[in-house]
Structure formats: C-alpha cells, structure tokens
Amino acid sequence: MTAIYGLFDRPDAAQRAFTGLKRAGVPSADITVVSGEPFEAFEFSHRDHSMILFRLALAGGIIGFVLAVLLTRGTELAWPLVTGGMPIVAWWPNLVIIFEMTMLGAIVTTVVSLLVASKLPSFRKDLYDPAVSDGKILVGVPLTGGRSEESVRQALAVGGPAVVKTTQM
C-alpha cells in the first residue's frame, strides 16, 4: 500500500495540513501524525486520549491484591507454624506483602498495557521518516479507498512549503 506524507518544520504548519486533509474529506482516523515530541496544544493531538491505562492499572492492582491475600493466607494455613506467639494468619504483617503485590500488579499492568496499546514492539513497517528525529512533523495518509494522490498533495500544501514523499507500507 502506498502512503503519502509531508514533513513540516513547525507544529502549526502540521496543524494546517491536518485541517486541510480533514476538509478534503479524509477521516481523522486515517491521518497519521508523527513527531519527535508531543504537541498537546494542537488539535491533531486531541484524538486518541483514553483512560484505559488508568483503568487497567487499577485492575492490575486488584489482581495483585487478591494474589497477595491468597499467597499469604493460603501458605500460612497450608503449614501452620507458630512463630513469636503471633497468630497463624497474622494480618498486620500480611498487609505489607499485600501492599507491595498490589503496587507491583498496578505497575506491571501499566507497562504491559502501554506496550500493547502502542503496539510495541513493532516489527512491521509503520508510516515513518527518520527526519522526525530532526524535528520534522510527519503528516500522512495511506492512499486507499480511491483517494487521489493529487487531492492529498493539495491538502498537505495548505500547511505551507514542505517535503512531500511517498512510501510503501
């Protein structure tokens, strides 16, 4: 599949190109914007916000909590050994383990969710140009669904002068 993209020097130029593409009828979901740093101020960054990582972290914490309760209570009851005159299932000390495993659950879930949600590690060829590491902002669309290259080039030109390239994905 061929894709066409423009490399812009400034985020406001990229924003204009983005707006131009939307006006040309390209759905927002098809427009890829790639940058070397996040630009929250601009409309092209306003999509893809999600609370999913926070919710998953909470779920991971709950799973960690449950596992910790099972581990401590379960093993203490499986072979009851009296130590220090304390009860067999000593819930004060068990709270320490439960806290740590809850946090570990939240932390590990967060990282795994990040990787899955960002589709990392990625081995396929994504729409990218190493010029992004020189500070350029890439705005591009795949040429699918009968989209004409000319209309896309015109839309990208709204952003101002920029390098426009095509690539196979």
Binding site: L81, V82, T83, G84, G85, M86, P93
Partner: protein, 230 residues
Amino acid sequence: MSHRWGMVVDLDTCTGCEACVVACHAENNIATAGPDEAARGRAMHWLRVERYWEGEYPEAKLKFRPVLCQQCDAAPCESVCPTYASHHTDEGLNAQVYNRCIGTRYCANACPYNVRFFNFFNPTWDKPLNLQFNPDVSVREVGVMEKCTFCVQRIKAAEITADAEKRELKDGELKPACAQSCPATAIVFGDLNDPESKVSQLYGSGRGEKLLEEVGAQPKIVYLKRQATA
C-alpha cells in the same frame, strides 16, 4: 498427656563450676572455637555461666547466672526468621531447624538474651574430640544458626521409649545434659503440664523470677534467688 517443657535454675545453689557448659558441648557436638577465634568473639557456648561482681573489695560478691535459650513463648527470634528455621513447637520449645537456616542472623540480633550462635566457619575438632560425637545430634555446617534446644534429642528419645512401653514419662526420667551434670542440682528440668513434677512445684516459688521479663518475650525459665528483704 501433652508436655510443656520448662526449667528452673537455682542461682543460690549454682557454684559457677561450668560443668553444665562442658556437658552441653559434649552432648550437642559443639566445637570449641580455639584461642584465636574465641578472641574474635566466636566462642559458641549454648549455655554460658555469666559472672558478675557486686560491690567493692573487701565486700565484693561474685554472682553466677547460667544463661541459655529461654524457649520464649513469644520469641522475637521466631517471627523474624524468613525461612521458618526458628519456630515454636507444640511442646513449648523454640525449635531450630538447621536445614532451613540460610544464615541471615536476624534471629540472633532479635534475641534479647544473646543465646543464639552462628557457625562462622565449618566447625573443626582437635583430635581425639573428633571421635566423641553424639550420634543423636547433627553436626551443623558453616552459615547455620544454633542454640540450646533443651536437649530435644533426649526429649524425643524419652517420649519414644515411653510411647513404646505404653506408659507416661516419669518426672526426673529425662534430663538435658546440663541438668544431668550439675553437681549442685541447681538446674531442674521437667514437664510444666504435670503439677506433681519438681519443676512445676519450684515454678511458683516466691524466690522465682524470670530474666528480662519486661521485654515481653515470655521466657520459660525461672531463676530462683534470695530476694532482698525490706
């Protein structure tokens, strides 16, 4: 009948002869550290006789106190051991399971009585002491903690014999090495669950008090001594 092992030590009768210390070494396969290591503080006396001077010459008095593992009911050493090498048995003893010990030495630090000892090296015995091992007691390797067990090997042997003979244990039938060897019979050992046993009768004596009772470890050993009169 279930047992609860206890001990009473009479400080007024104790002469400080340290026969108990030697007997303990012999019974429990405890090596001597040698002069260099002892100078470094590595001597291992599961039972030690503490010697204190009171007063000044010419009224100086010498006091002896045998200190051994108090088999505490709320033993601080038990809760801190990460591998359950130190735990409480249902006969009231603090068990030291050598095989589980990985040598963190936390139990020794938590013990208020300093009655726990660590094998800094693999123990060695000068000839001919290497021929004198007690086969009922394991030899501990380097890195493992050890302490007085109330001669648990003798307790177990006596219980097994009594069980096989389908009878109860008699008071005085079973003595740890220290009680057996004390010439002044200052150390009395027995079953606290048996109200007729000598140790139970001495336990409630008006001369009795426990060592460091205020620390809250609930030690089992009662020390008898002349209390100060008003």
